[in-house]
Symmetry: C2
Subunit: 116 residues, 2 copies
DNA sequence: TTGACATACAACCAGATGGTTGTATGTTTG
DNA sequence: CAAACATACAACCATCTGGTTGTATGTCAA
């Protein structure tokens, strides 16, 4: 296990965990469709503002959502690239199924455009 | 919320939760590459047999892994279709981003070939 | 300036999760 | 048959999770 693999696994943990809650998936859908303030989001659910705020924080830590401050509001929007990075993890699994272990490096390099 | 949507959300909860653990993702990779008995899998990890067996059970309940009995062994293999169904959930999110809400029905019908 | 609004975060709690050990049951083998 | 092996599952435990309320801080409007 290299350190980068460890980081990838940490990232995968955070991403899948963030997606493993229906309220968070619903929030993500809304903010992918367009910016919403945290309180606008909170108004949609039958739970406290603080609970919704924590869900947004989980999505934000996973990189699925970003926020920008506008006056007293925090506007959240969905990060499409993070969603795509989850898709690429699943593609890696599919490639394992096909036995194409040797090509995983290329796949990672393509979906993970760091230097080198 | 229709009942079917509820069931889809339950399924999504189970799938993403199953994937939100690195040991389970690793097990899934192995069994996607080929059948393995539970004890063969357990030998690969620094935890008890029972712990690995529970991880396999979580994957199985989510539909990501199936088992067949052969003598005293239980051979586990990865279910590619379940992996693909997760991919299609992510595609739905991408389609929300593009604002194509109206086409989600087609997408679901395609990836979810039930009658009607 | 004062009050209402929007956010953030700490502290707390019940229940779920991921691990453990122990026990029971079925299967192969000597 | 008896012993070893493979699995399954219950009971237990520490930690994490998803919710709550309460408090603090900053921003807008009258």
């Amino acid at each position: 296990m290299t350190e980068r693999d460890e980081q990838n696994e940490d990232r995968a943990d955070a991403l899948f965990h963030a997606l493993a809650d229906r309220t968070r998936r619903d929030i993500l859908r809304r903010v992918l469709a367009g910016e919403h303030s945290v309180s606008a989001l909170a108004a949609s659910y039958d739970m406290s503002f603080a609970a919704v705020q924590k869900h947004v924080a989980v999505l934000e830590r996973a990189g699925l959502v970003s926020k920008r401050r506008v006056g007293r509001e925090a506007l959240a929007s969905g990060e499409l690239e993070a969603v795509r990075s989850v898709s690429s993890m699943l593609l890696e699994l599919e490639s394992v199924w096909r036995g194409r272990i040797a090509r995983i490096d290329e796949l990672l390099a393509e979906s993970h455009p760091t230097k080198e």
